[in-house]
């Protein structure tokens, strides 16, 4: 986890808001570093984490988490972390001769056009509602949701899936949900599905972290900007949701962490 981001979000492994749905999106940048932050943060906080890793292998997350001080393999063995390796599961389903049943986790891949992500939700539900053990509230992290658009899943199906995850994890079990959606690359691109997905998720999230490349172009020392937008949670002060609380920070990714600073105060500049 990144200590600077913790202070910006006013959270710590001992004290963090519950029942929160965090949306991480990016545009002309790569926001996956935030996923690594949340993964190590919630593991340190002692929560039971269900991680849907759809774009990278387990060893990738493991290697990065090692640098951030968390051992994923150990967490997996102890049962604190349940990891779904999307890449491996996909292959077996896509190249399988016989049909798979509805309740298979990634069954949406074998049928076309895909109707819904019921199987995947079933997996998540089984994981978070299962035996709690000594762990804290359940947390669901998805990396990333938009890759399923590339696999032919419709934006509606993804919105339904995220609603169910939110209803189960956030409202029923008072846990947290973090979802990454990788956004448009260039201006004027007509990806309707992605636009709808982002809008729908933005309507229901409590905290939105939008990572963007710098408007002024490419820079070696500042890798981009993060806009944090609190949309007013259920019991927070501005529950009406109209007054969004927004802040923008710039960031630079280093080997073992990410440093955040206010606009214009990068060490390369000052």
């Amino acid at each position: 986890m990144f200590p600077e981001l913790n202070s910006i979000l006013n959270t710590s492994p001992d004290h963090f808001p519950r029942g929160e749905f965090t949306l991480v999106s990016d545009r002309q940048a790569d926001a996956s570093f935030l996923i690594h932050h949340f993964l190590s943060f919630y593991l340190r906080a002692g929560c039971k984490v269900c991680f849907l890793g759809l774009v990278q292998s387990f060893s990738h997350y493991s290697a990065v988490s090692q640098r951030l001080g968390v051992n994923l393999a150990q967490a997996k063995e102890k049962g604190q972390l349940v990891f779904l390796e999307g890449l491996k599961e996909t292959l077996s389903i896509l190249l399988r001769e016989n049909r798979s049943s509805d309740t298979d986790t990634l069954s949406f891949l074998s049928r076309s056009p895909c109707t819904d992500l019921r199987g995947l939700f079933g997996f998540v539900r089984g994981c978070v509602r299962g035996e709690q053990g000594p762990w804290g509230p359940p947390v669901l992290i998805v990396d990333d949701l938009s890759v399923m658009l590339s696999l032919g899943v419709s934006a509606d199906a993804l919105l339904d899936f995220s609603h169910y995850c939110q209803a189960t994890v956030c409202s029923e079990l008072q846990g947290n949900v973090v979802m990454l959606t990788r956004g448009e690359d260039e201006e004027g691109e007509d990806d309707e599905d992605l636009g709808r997905l982002l809008t729908g998720l933005a309507h229901s999230c409590h905290l939105a972290l939008r990572v963007r490349g710098l408007a002024t172009g490419y820079c070696k020392d500042i890798h981009g900007e993060v806009e944090l937008c609190w949309r007013g949670g259920r019991t927070s002060v501005n529950f009406s949701g109209l007054t969004d609380h927004r802040r923008v920070y710039q960031y630079k990714i280093q080997d073992k962490g990410v440093s955040f600073f206010a606009r214009g105060t990068s060490s390369a500049v000052l």
Partner: protein
């Protein structure tokens, strides 16, 4: 007009609140519901977007006890099978809604709030949703239907079709800080209200509003006025023709003299009317060619009386 909607005096029918990501409209919906509860009306809520807890947050404690919440949030598509008998987003029909409402309604006519219709639109064909809404409206059962719709989640056609049914449409947009008013006194949003009265007349009004913690709505007035907290006097508008050492204005007498002045080289009135008179035989071209160039250098357009 916004206050009328909240007070319930706008005349019933279908009220659609259109919002977007930048300016959520749920608080307006909640203030309407809250005001209705305070007036001791019977209110039913079809909840899809947010949980019951979150919806009830902020409502007037005592009055909120009579609120009936139909839970479509936990299991709208029957995936978990837990909510058998609960509201689902599938098969939205007037019959089903009526049945649910009659199960637990009070004696007064009922106000129905839908939060939000976007769920229903995503899983049902638009035509059937519109038909169901219209049928519900025709019923004597419901006094008013309040619907929250996320306009950026659907195609324009779908949103417009639903709004076409409505008697009142409130479009909520974020306030962009015009006129340099920021901070505590800045309104939270701009509401553009369009109301169709039975006589066919359409009323439109644009107002800035703020929703307080207790769900009370404060309306400010038109957003185009600079300085929203005080009324702006008309003459503070800078008058460029004032305070000059020369006179730029004309008195009535001077204006008349100016109009009467005959300009040099302009055709007189008689000649103009003579030229304008329609001639018999229309476009005759009478051309007498000269040996040399015929054009008059001084008057190429041939309209000066030289």
């Amino acid at each position: 007009m916004l206050l009328e909607i909240i007070d319930g005096t706008e005349g019933g029918g279908l009220v659609v609140i259109k919002d977007s990501v930048n300016c959520p409209g749920r608080c307006l919906l909640k203030s309407c519901v809250n005001a209705a509860l305070r007036r001791k009306e019977s209110v039913h809520v079809l909840g899809f977007d947010v949980s019951e807890e979150e919806l009830r947050a902020g409502l007037d404690g005592e009055a909120a006890k009579s609120l009936v919440f139909h839970n479509g949030y936990t299991d709208p598509l029957c995936w978990t099978g837990m909510g058998t008998g609960q509201l689902t987003a599938l098969h939205f029909s007037a019959q089903e809604i009526r049945a649910r409402i009659s199960q637990s309604r009070g004696p007064e006519p009922v106000t129905l709030a839908v939060d939000s219709l976007s769920w229903v639109l995503r899983h049902n064909p638009t035509a059937s949703v519109c038909q169901s809404l219209q049928e519900l409206r025709r019923d004597g059962l419901l006094k008013r239907i309040l619907v929250l719709l996320h306009s950026d989640l659907h195609q324009h056609g779908m949103v417009d079709s639903v709004c076409h049914l409505a008697s009142t449409v409130v479009t909520v947009a974020p306030f962009s800080g015009l006129g340099g008013v920021v901070g505590e006194t800045a309104p939270q949003g701009i509401a553009m209200t369009t109301q169709r009265i039975k006589s066919g007349k359409v009323l439109q009004e644009e107002e800035c509003f703020t929703v307080g913690q207790d769900l009370s709505v404060q309306v400010y007035g038109r957003p185009s006025q600079p300085g929203l907290t005080e009324p702006e006097p008309e003459d503070s508008q800078a008058d460029p023709a004032a305070n000059l050492t020369f006179n730029l204005r004309l008195s009535e007498h001077e204006r008349q003299a100016k109009d009467n002045l005959a300009l040099p080289f302009a055709f007189s009135q008689e000649k103009k009317s003579a030229l304008l008179r329609p001639r018999a035989g229309g476009g005759q071209i009478l051309y007498e060619p000269d040996a040399a160039d015929d054009f008059d250098q001084e008057d190429p357009d041939d309209d000066l009386d030289v």
